[in-house]
């Protein structure tokens, strides 16, 4: 199907985008890479009156490394993150996740911010942000605010973003010495959304594993070691069955995948 009718605006700056979002409020949607929003429009699952296309706001794109953080601009394309030497060096978990994010033609267009702002529970990047305890930078009429990843993902396609707000960037703490990360995902076809995925990060003293595709949002579990995480899965994961797998199958796959990924983490 085709997208319903809408009016299209292409602001040149964050200020212009915020003014449009403030003016049109619930009638407006932000168009970033469009790789999820456009299918939703074509399926008529969304019918905003106004699309605010942020693709020409250059200030929103790019990766910056500071002494304490890696900042990924909301409009940074998946393909740029995949190719980035800074990401490979400082955020190996994100680098490992990138080949699983859809397909090359979609990674050329899809954006980091779009993926996080959508809040798809089976998506890779929200899980990575949660695993690495990133902070989201959000702009609104009253200025900027910062939201910890822990508080950002609120449920199925729901985030802490309020009407009139725009996701600007995510800030990831630089990798600490002694920490490692590992990533794994099971999908029917390479590049499809995960049936189950795990993004893990940890040291010899603690492990944090984020499971995705198994709930209405990414689920973070923490323990002293891999065994501690594995022993929690039966009680702490409550996957729902969907078209691709029953709840029991998802839980089984989560255990198998967690065993592999955590094995890799502590190897």
């Amino acid at each position: 199907m085709k997208a319903p009718r809408f009016a299209y605006a292409r602001p040149a700056s964050v200020a212009e985008a915020l003014a449009l979002l403030d003016k049109h409020r619930d009638d407006a949607r932000v168009l970033a890479g469009g790789q999820s929003l456009v299918p939703m429009l074509n399926f008529r699952l969304a019918a905003p009156k106004v699309l605010v296309d942020i693709n020409r706001i250059a200030a929103l794109a790019g990766i910056k490394v500071t002494k304490t953080h890696v900042r990924i601009g909301a409009l940074t394309r998946h393909a740029e993150i995949e190719r980035s030497a800074d990401i490979a060096r400082h955020l190996p978990l994100v680098a490992a996740a990138m080949p699983h994010v859809a397909h090359p033609a979609i990674r050329n267009r899809g954006t980091f911010g779009g993926s996080c702002a959508l809040g798809d529970p089976a998506a890779e990047l929200p899980a990575c942000a949660l695993a690495l305890e990133a902070t989201f930078v959000v702009a609104g009429k009253k200025g900027e605010r910062r939201i910890a990843a822990e508080d950002f993902f609120k449920g199925l396609y729901a985030t802490a973003l309020k009407g009139g707000e725009l996701l600007i960037a995510a800030e990831f703490p630089l990798a600490r010495p002694g920490y490692a990360s590992a990533f794994g995902e099971l999908a029917r076809r390479h590049g499809d959304y995960a049936m189950v995925g795990v993004a893990a990060h940890g040291s010899g003293k603690s492990v944090r594993a984020v499971f995705f595709g198994v709930g209405d949002r990414p689920v973070a579990l923490e323990a002293e070691n891999a065994g501690g995480i594995l022993s929690k899965l039966d009680t702490d994961l409550e996957p729902r069955g969907d078209l691709h797998a029953s709840a029991a199958m998802k839980l089984h796959l989560a255990k198998v995948l967690a065993g592999r990924v955590l094995g890799e983490l502590t190897a």
């Binding site: 299918p39 397909h103 979609i106 267009r109």
Partner: protein, 165 residues
């Protein structure tokens, strides 16, 4: 362009030619190419980014034509299968597809060729597994992919042997 509009004026370079049109905001790039410019080599299959039949190049990178609005291509360089074919950029791939029977109905072929050319630019010497992974975003319901992978592998080897891409 700041006020929201339902009709958008665009200028783009499509297969090397400047085009200027007034388009409905809701028209996707694949439909624009097909209906407005009569470039029907770009196929429309699923219309939600799964099948890859509408793959085109925008500013040198492959994208889904169904997941981008024509209005967003304003000021961009767009290349379609017609452009790549006329410029002979994909001549070797086309010959290899014929030789190995890498197409049957041909519906997916333009998108597959667009993706294959991008693959060989990024990975001049891909393994069969890398070819399969890269093409995971292009559905083919006839061939079972084996012959498509054969064709792309053969072209990669020819280009490698010749020492260029």
């Amino acid at each position: 362009m700041n006020a929201p509009l339902e009709t958008v004026e665009i200028e783009a370079t499509v297969n090397g030619e400047r085009v200027k049109r007034s388009v409905p905001a809701r028209q996707n790039l694949a439909d624009f190419l097909r209906h407005e410019l009569e470039l029907t080599g770009t196929h429309v299959g699923c219309e939600h980014g799964v099948c890859g039949a509408c793959t085109v190049r925008v500013d040198g990178e492959i994208v889904r034509g169904c997941l981008m609005f024509a209005a967003q291509a304003d000021g961009c360089k767009v290349d379609t299968i017609e452009g790549l074919s006329d410029s002979r950029e994909i001549e070797e791939l086309q010959s290899a597809f014929v030789l190995t029977n890498a197409l049957q109905c041909g519906f997916c072929t333009p998108g597959v060729l667009m993706a294959a050319q991008a693959l060989l630019r990024d990975l001049p010497n891909p393994s069969r597994e890398q070819i399969r992974e890269y093409l995971s975003g292009n559905y083919c319901r006839c061939t079972g992919y084996q012959a498509i992978v054969d064709a792309i592998e053969a072209v990669a080897k020819t280009r490698q042997a010749r020492g260029n891409r």
